[in-house]
């Protein structure tokens, strides 16, 4: 189960990325934080303890930490330990007889099969002859392994009942019991085998044997056999998580009936009617005096009510669960559920803050002490576990909406800053996506100033102080983003004031520094895209000035002159200002002036002045020039800028065909028409060679109405 948590995260992210891939050079993959909440299995606390390496580590005084026959044999030889040598040699024979070194495509000859069978029988006899004590458990385990290889399942069942089960608790005994469970399964005793796997916490085996039982029918099956079957916590957890998965898919805009998705995340679609049936069963189970842990059923029912929006019922069931009998892990699970559920209710602010703080301190403690590692290949490292994920879900899906609703945006942003991504790390990889950076990006300059001040004074409320935890904000980071926001809002002078505080060394370390070094906002974008030289130094581009400051100063000077100018000079200045505004927009080569990253589906930065619109306004002035060359360039620029595009491409909702449709009323269509008219009258080569204009003429030659097959045009392939 633990692997599934992260899988869900990554797949969701990848999916989000892929849906936009055709349009993106660099896509934002925002974490969904939709981790499973319900966790009542202590497999992670008591993983199937079948690792016998400890024995060998002790034997070799820590020299051999994983079973290595040759190394151990060397040690045994040095010590003159015949008993150990004999056992290791026998174990090696067993591994060879099982073909453990065979490649998957190998198939043994008849001679090899016969030899292996003979060898297995010889090993079996040897295991029975051992009379020592040191390797008693080893030989017993080996005997069962050989029986399994020889398909003597009845022998294994008998051996376990008579001998294996009598050993003291150990890794060897657990492995024997696992083999015994396998023998039960192979001899038709499925439910007994399942119970043993569940007791051992052998998750892989449980997953396989119960793959068709992770539903209410499966729960009822095991419940009818034994209302305290060790399989029930596993199945109930899977059921609740499946119900959560189904709703999460809907919340993420996916299809809850998509079998491929469910197969990928190893879940089963579990809709409302299934959930209601389960709750009915949970009521019965909780009332059954034979059931030892009614807490399990009441907390499951309570959480399911929460998932389906029945807040009152959720709280009622969870309260009842609190007073019902349960295991320690079930109570921990209940506590986490109650925290999440609480975020949907109204509260007295101060009392609620106290409660949250108390619960977060508890969660933090659980995070520190829990060995419930989320995944070996965890994105954020091995420090995460189930309680980290509970924390993420509670904050992201519970407290954020709660505080946003209260209008306490800064509290939300502070909480987000602790969601596994440090702003300093996130900043250079802006386009990788971080909810925290996105929230910061959505603030106005004045809001960012206030937020920065709040961080500097360590927070205003106890909750804010808890999250800020005396960590001082990075001045360069905030001065840079506040200055950039000022620039976006055309508050040139104030922007300069903030950005002057940012040292060049800081800027040079940012990923966008290379773009800032090479791309020039004075060159019109419509005359060609600027390229970064192949030999550019990305590590240390060597910026000699803050380009944002340069830009602010240049715009201010140009605007000052523009105000005073008239006639041709005004037209010329308008063209220059249009060039600067467009280059600084998200579509320009100098996007780094207003943005921290660029994607093909970029839009105007939040609260930013409309730089593209401003460029178009100036171009309209430039177009009135009596200078033929300037007028033509301005007209070309108007036709180039894709705002209010001359065509539209989309999927037909009924046929799913990708189509292309002209937009004769659009701004760009009109500009292209104008350009097309002058192109016939001896225009410069940058116009006559313009491929967009050529296509425009081609497409408009056969009329302007109706949808066309996009496949027929090499220019408008969707991907």
């Amino acid at each position: 189960m633990k692997q599934i948590f992260m899988r869900r995260f990554f797949i969701a992210s990848t999916f989000m990325f892929l849906t936009q891939l055709y349009a993106m050079a660099c896509g934002g993959t925002y974490p969904t934080y939709n981790y499973y909440m319900f966790s009542v299995l202590d497999y992670e606390y008591n993983p199937v303890n079948t690792n016998t390496d400890k024995f060998w580590a002790d034997y070799s005084n820590g020299e051999v930490t994983e079973f290595d026959a040759e190394a151990l044999l060397n040690i045994a030889r040095q010590r003159g330990d015949r008993e150990t040598q004999n056992y290791i040699a026998l174990l090696q024979d067993y591994l060879e007889a099982c073909g453990s070194n065979d490649s998957p495509w190998d198939y043994p000859s008849k001679e090899v099969i016969d030899e292996r069978q003979a060898m297995l029988k010889k090993i079996l006899s040897a295991t029975k002859l051992y009379k020592g004590t040191k390797f008693k458990e080893h030989y017993a385990l080996l005997q069962m392994r050989v029986n399994r290889a020889l398909k003597r399942h009845d022998d294994n069942i008998a051996f376990w009942n008579n001998t294996g089960s009598k050993f003291a608790d150990s890794a060897f005994r657990n492995r024997m019991e696992g083999i015994y469970a396998g023998s039960l399964l192979r001899t038709g005793k499925r439910s007994e085998a399942c119970d043993i796997y569940a007791q051992l916490g052998d998750e892989e085996s449980i997953k396989w044997v119960s793959r068709h039982y992770c539903n209410l029918a499966g729960i009822l099956y095991f419940y009818s056999k034994d209302p305290n079957s060790p399989m029930l916590p596993y199945l109930v957890q899977r059921f609740v998580n499946n119900a959560q998965e189904t709703l999460d898919i809907i919340a993420d805009g996916g299809n809850p009936n998509d079998p491929d998705w469910f197969e990928m995340v190893q879940a089963l679609p579990t809709g409302k009617s299934d959930v209601m049936d389960f709750i009915k069963f949970a009521d019965e189970a909780a009332a059954n005096p034979q059931v030892k842990t009614p807490c399990l059923y009441l907390s499951a029912a309570g959480f399911l009510h929460y998932l389906h929006g029945n807040q009152e019922k959720a709280e009622e069931y969870l309260s009842r669960a609190q007073t019902a009998d349960g295991t320690e892990i079930q109570y921990d699970n209940l506590r986490a559920l109650r925290l999440l559920v609480s975020t949907r209710s109204k509260h007295n602010t101060k009392d609620y803050e106290k409660y949250i703080l108390q619960e977060f301190r508890w969660l933090n403690q659980k995070m520190q002490e829990s060995s419930m590692v989320a995944s070996e290949n965890d994105y954020y490292g091995e420090s995460e576990n189930h309680y980290t994920h509970v924390y993420y879900r509670v904050v992201f899906h519970g407290l954020l909406p709660y505080y946003d609703k209260l209008g306490q945006n800064f509290t939300s942003v502070i909480m987000l800053s602790k969601m596994g991504q440090d702003p300093e790390d996130a900043m250079p990889y802006y386009c990788m996506g971080s909810h925290y950076v996105q929230r910061l990006d959505s603030m106005t300059a004045d809001e960012a100033i206030a937020y920065y001040a709040l961080l500097r004074r360590g927070g205003d409320t106890e909750l804010q102080r808890y999250f800020i935890d005396n960590v001082k904000p990075d001045a360069n980071y905030f001065n840079d983003i506040i200055g950039t926001k000022m620039l976006r809002e055309e508050r040139w002078k104030e922007a300069i004031k903030y950005m002057e505080k940012v040292p060049l060394a800081y800027l040079n370390a940012k990923a966008a520094a290379t773009y800032a070094k090479y791309n020039d906002y004075n060159k019109p974008r419509w005359m060609g895209k600027q390229r970064i030289p192949k030999d550019a130094d990305w590590e240390n581009p060597g910026l000699t000035s803050n380009k944002k400051i340069d830009f602010c100063k240049d715009v201010m000077a140009l605007q000052k002159s523009y105000k005073k100018a008239s006639g041709e000079e005004k037209c010329l200045l308008a063209y220059r200002l249009a060039t600067l505004y467009y280059q600084a927009s998200y579509l320009g080569d100098c996007w780094f002036l207003t943005q921290y990253g660029q994607t093909a589906n970029e839009d105007n930065a939040p609260y930013s002045h409309d730089f593209i619109g401003e460029a178009l306004k100036y171009l309209e002035v430039a177009k009135t020039s009596s200078n033929n060359s300037l007028r033509t360039e301005a007209l070309y620029a108007c036709a180039y800028i894709p705002r209010d595009s001359w065509f539209k491409t989309d999927y037909d909702k009924e046929t799913y065909d990708y189509y292309f449709e002209l937009q004769p009323q659009s701004r760009q269509f009109k500009a292209l028409s104008e350009l097309s008219a002058i192109a016939s009258q001896g225009a410069p080569t940058y116009i006559t060679h313009c491929d967009v204009l050529r296509l425009f003429r081609q497409e408009t030659a056969s009329g302007t109405g109706g949808r066309r097959d996009v496949e027929k045009s090499k220019y408008f392939r969707p991907w």
Binding site: P104, W105, D106, Y107, P108, S109, K110, I113, G188, R190, H212, Y213, N215, L216, A217, G218, L220, Y221, S273
Partner: protein, 309 residues
């Protein structure tokens, strides 16, 4: 542009190469599929084969699945608890999962052929005269699958065996695979997960749209007809799964289990329609699959009609 010798040479060689290629022939023998994981024929099964003069047994040797670490690997390899009479020709079949063909499986064809021949040798089965590949390939995996078959056919040919492939109805619309012959699978034509589809295993109405140009299909074909049944489990009218063995699924008192098995008349009607669409196609028929519970489902008359023309 001038044509140079290096351009013309391949064109000149083409007819020669075509002439070198062995003529596509196939044995005119009926057969049965054997699809279990352990080879063991009971008396009823052996008697059935003898009674109907069936001399060929198409035995699934293993599946080829995609391993995350090792790429395409064999899985669910057949165990041999029983020997097969020398009079019965065993045709090894490998079920290849389509996902194995998403990338070109390099070097696998030789391994597959070697493994099949080794399995036969180890288990006292005569060297195969034919090897069959079963794969639900689609347009997106066609290219890789065909390249794989091409290589496989070369290795089979070196060992003196022919290569046959299964052809699903939807695959008839694609160009034929590079094999010596194909087996047209006339089953699994409908959606078993739909409770309203009464004949998911074989419904002539589902077959008809695909067989209109059967005669033009550029690969010699045999036919395979179903004699198997499915127990489909539905809960609240929603499909849960096909029950292969007792206890595979938990069954609630309110669940519905529907037995889906083609009626003899459905098979025969399809048999006639396919024959009409391509005369002689039923000269060699394979039934799916050899199991006591299947062979006892139909009257002797049915088998007479399908297997004894």
């Amino acid at each position: 542009m001038t044509l140079k010798l290096k351009h013309i040479l391949p064109l000149m060689l083409l007819p020669l190469l075509a002439a070198c290629e062995k003529e596509r022939t196939m044995p005119v023998e009926n057969g049965m599929y054997y699809w279990r994981t352990d080879l063991h024929l009971d008396k009823a099964e052996r008697d059935f084969m003898a009674q109907h003069g069936i001399k060929r047994l198409f035995v699934r040797f293993f599946d080829m699945v995609m391993s995350e670490t090792d790429g395409p690997v064999p899985n669910a390899t057949l165990t041999f608890s029983d020997s097969i009479a020398d009079s019965i020709e065993v045709v090894p079949v490998v079920y290849v999962l389509n996902e194995c063909m998403k990338t070109l499986p390099t070097g696998i064809a030789e391994k597959l052929v070697n493994r099949i021949w080794q399995m036969c040798e180890t288990n006292g089965i005569a060297a195969p005269k034919e090897l069959q590949i079963d794969c639900d390939w689609t347009a997106s995996t066609r290219e890789n699958y065909f390249k794989f078959l091409h290589e496989l056919r070369r290795y089979a040919d070196i060992r003196g065996a022919q290569l046959s492939v299964t052809i699903r109805l939807h695959q008839l619309r694609e160009s034929p695979p590079p094999a010596d012959c194909g087996v047209l699978m006339l089953y699994n034509t409908g959606d078993v997960s739909r409770i309203d589809v009464e004949k998911p295993i074989l419904d002539l109405r589902d077959v008809k749209p695909y067989i209109t140009n059967l005669e033009d299909y550029d690969l010699p074909l045999r036919t395979a007809y179903p004699i198997f049944g499915w127990r489909a489990l539905f809960r609240k009218n929603k499909f849960v799964g096909v029950i292969h063995y007792e206890g595979e699924y938990p069954v609630m008192p309110t669940d519905t289990i529907i037995e889906r098995r083609p009626a003899a008349e459905d098979v025969l009607a399809t048999y006639r329609a396919v024959e009409k669409a391509s005369k002689g196609i039923n000269n060699s028929v394979i039934l799916f699959d050899l199991q006591s519970e299947n062979i006892t489902q139909y009257e002797a008359d049915f088998y007479e009609k399908v297997l004894h023309r």
